[in-house]
């Protein structure tokens, strides 16, 4: 697959077209109908949860939130490929992937409500917290992959970044180190066309993002990121390639950020309706649903019911999160050091004294 879709030729792996028709049988992945239906439902869940989270934010019930919609195929396909022992190294726009890895929606809510507890993903195995400093997490992926190789563990690392993130020096160092060390890490660039307001064209003038792999002597491939089958096929191939000790892979997932950068952002300032409509045709859910309906695996009626159920469930989880325990002073101090300095203890005690005084 990597030979055929060598990014130097600017080809893109696609399996279904905008109408959900299979146009590339060769790379149609080995998935049974049940798995495909589940994938669609997971995408639906991600979208529903995501849209509801945006509306919770509009209601002032959570703080700034970066919506995922439009990019679900990447996340759900990732979730299908990433095994329990593999590592997930997030940026901050991979909701479906976190959930698949074992993070809970409640935790996501907690995080955006302002609790560090929400980024621990405590029941999820081998996941890193959400990483805000752009591209910096990729290097952790390289380090984790080094450890996997050194410790002879069968783990593959999946590390995510945006199109904007490819411009950071850390992108370069992460990929170069991984290639030199020949370690099992898949770097996924979610090319959603924008870094906040900055278009892809102002970010780089390379032919595509996948071709950046060439600079590191590693495999790279450009994939239709709104095509679940293509994403699954590429991620799976990359997993396989890494598992065999061949070194890292770079996947560019071409997609579109349908929503705002975050709920604080206003995309009308920097992009037009025509563009949004063009991408609407390529919506990952629409495409997969067309496939399912064509193959009589799913119906519109079903969808409505499912969404209603999801909504109820999500609302329930959200209120659970809203009733989370208060954030104690102790939590501010507790987790900085394995061996906490006396100074920190003193500062906490002094503050407690102040609080006592204030109450009296």
């Amino acid at each position: 697959m990597f030979e055929k879709y060598n990014p130097i030729n600017d080809l893109m792996l696609q399996v279904i077209n905008n109408d959900g028709k299979v146009i590339n049988k060769e790379f149609f992945p080995k998935l049974d109908d049940i798995q495909i239906i589940k994938a669609y439902k997971d995408m639906l869940f991600e979208r529903t949860a995501d849209l509801m989270t945006v509306s919770y934010q509009r209601q002032g019930r959570i703080f700034t939130y970066p919506p995922n919609y439009g990019q679900e195929a990447i996340h759900i396909a990732s979730g299908m490929v990433i095994k329990n022992e593999d590592w997930l190294v997030p940026a901050f726009r991979e909701l479906g992937a976190y959930l698949a890895k074992g993070a809970t929606l409640k935790e996501i809510f907690l995080y955006f409500m302002g609790y560090e507890d929400g980024t621990v993903f405590k029941d999820a195995n081998h996941i890193l917290p959400i990483s805000v400093p752009i591209a910096s997490q990729l290097i952790h992926g390289t380090g984790l992959a080094y450890a996997a190789k050194y410790l002879n563990k069968k783990e593959v690392v999946f590390a995510y970044v945006g199109d904007g993130g490819t411009s950071e020096g850390d992108f370069h160092e992460a990929l170069n180190f991984a290639a030199v060390w020949k370690v099992p890490v898949v770097f996924v660039v979610q090319n959603n066309q924008y870094a906040i307001s900055t278009s892809k064209e102002d970010q780089t003038v390379s032919v595509n993002f996948a071709i950046k792999s060439v600079a590191y002597g590693m495999k790279g491939i450009k994939v239709d990121g709104n095509d679940l089958f293509a994403m699954y096929a590429a991620l799976n191939e990359a997993h396989d390639y890494c598992s065999k000790g061949n070194g890292p892979v770079l996947i560019e997932a071409l997609t579109y950020r349908k929503g705002a950068h975050t709920t604080s952002d206003d995309p009308t300032k920097y992009r037009d309706k025509a563009e949004e409509e063009k991408w609407e045709q390529k919506d990952p859910l629409k495409r997969l649903k067309s496939y399912l309906i064509d193959n009589k695996l799913f119906s519109e009626d079903q969808e409505k019911n499912i969404i209603d159920d999801y909504k109820k469930e999500i609302d329930r989880i959200f209120s659970e999160a809203e009733n989370y325990e208060p954030y104690s002073l102790n939590e501010v101090f507790k987790h900085h050091y394995a061996d906490m300095p006396q100074d920190l203890k003193n500062q906490q005690r002094e503050h407690e004294n102040f609080l006592k005084w204030k109450e009296s």
């Binding site: 609790y115 805000v132 950071e168 920097y270």
Partner: protein
């Protein structure tokens, strides 16, 4: 005008006046920055002068060094001060040093703008106050305004300075304070503090978003008959020794209030200056009221960290009692 308008206005005036002035950074152009500080300027001055860069802080700061050497005066933005670290090498190893390294042949008149500080319910890395890091680096100057008026005057001075200025903007009060600010160009000398309020019993040295909180605390103190003198440093380096000395010589007591972590902070430096300049006048040990030596908690925990007027008042009482 609020602080956002004031800085925008200052940059606008200088862009208009001097074709060598440029403003750029992530999202600075088309949308005018995530806080809209540069809003409208690309439309007015064109894409060559006000523009979006690729996402790379080192690239932004480093290219500014090159441009400055070529005679331009770049105003660059770090989207949040928590994201300045990828540019740290360019700032510390080059912007701060180019003039010394070339025996004044080249200077680097760069303004490095960055919103800083807590209190806005933000994600991680969006709330820190690490001005002490820059203040310790030889070759930099560090400026922090606390009012629209000062923001404009200091920004004009920063753009006109031939030195590299780290210009930290207290984002918590970006839009919180409205003031009449003269429309014309004026500048405020870098390196000079300001007496916000005169007083006789105790001096409080502070800056940025906490000036307002200190003023509230001073009102509480006044009710108890305690007269507080408030100094707004405005420049962190070079720090205004004279204003600190004169005030503490008079009051004999001093507290420094800063939202940064406590250890190795601006507060420690102010105390040191006080003991160097007014030791024999001291009636109580110089005190610091600061953030904890911790990372700023996420919003749900931030109220523990944020310095309240009550906390300042509490410490005033403690110092007065000493």
């Amino acid at each position: 005008m609020n602080i956002v308008n004031a800085i925008n206005n200052a940059i606008d005036i200088k862009l208009n006046e001097d074709p060598n002035v440029l403003a750029f950074g992530e999202d600075v152009g088309k949308e005018g920055g995530v806080f809209r500080v540069t809003e409208g300027l690309q439309q007015k001055y064109g894409k060559q002068r006000v523009f979006d860069t690729p996402l790379g802080e080192s690239g932004i700061a480093g290219s500014a060094v090159g441009m400055a050497i070529a005679g331009l005066r770049p105003i660059i933005e770090m989207q949040f001060s928590g994201f300045v670290y990828p540019a740290f090498n360019q700032i510390v190893s080059h912007a701060a040093r180019m003039r010394n390294r070339t025996r004044s042949r080249y200077s680097t008149p760069i303004v490095i703008r960055m919103p800083y500080g807590g209190g806005i319910n933000a994600l991680e890395h969006h709330s820190e106050s690490m001005e002490a890091l820059f203040a310790h680096v030889p070759g930099l100057k560090v400026v922090i305004p606390s009012t629209p008026h000062d923001a404009k005057g200091l920004m004009i001075a920063a753009i006109e300075s031939d030195d590299t200025i780290v210009f930290m903007e207290p984002k918590r009060i970006y839009r919180a304070i409205k003031q009449e600010v003269p429309e014309d160009k004026f500048s405020i000398e870098i390196g000079k503090g300001k007496i916000v309020q005169e007083g006789t019993d105790l001096t409080i040295v502070t800056y940025g978003a906490l000036v307002r909180e200190v003023q509230k605390a001073a009102v509480m103190a006044k009710k108890q008959g305690i007269s507080v003198e408030i100094i707004d440093l405005r420049t962190i380096y070079p720090i205004d020794r004279d204003i600190i000395r004169d005030s503490v010589t008079k009051t004999g007591r001093v507290i420094t209030v800063t939202e940064s972590p406590r250890s190795f902070s601006v507060a420690s430096e102010v105390s040191q200056i006080v003991i160097e300049e007014a030791f024999l006048n001291l009636e109580a040990p110089p005190k610091r009221v600061t953030g904890f030596d911790t990372i700023v908690p996420l919003p749900k925990g931030e109220h523990h960290y944020i310095i309240s007027p009550e906390k300042i008042y509490y410490e005033i009482l403690d110092t007065i009692k000493y």
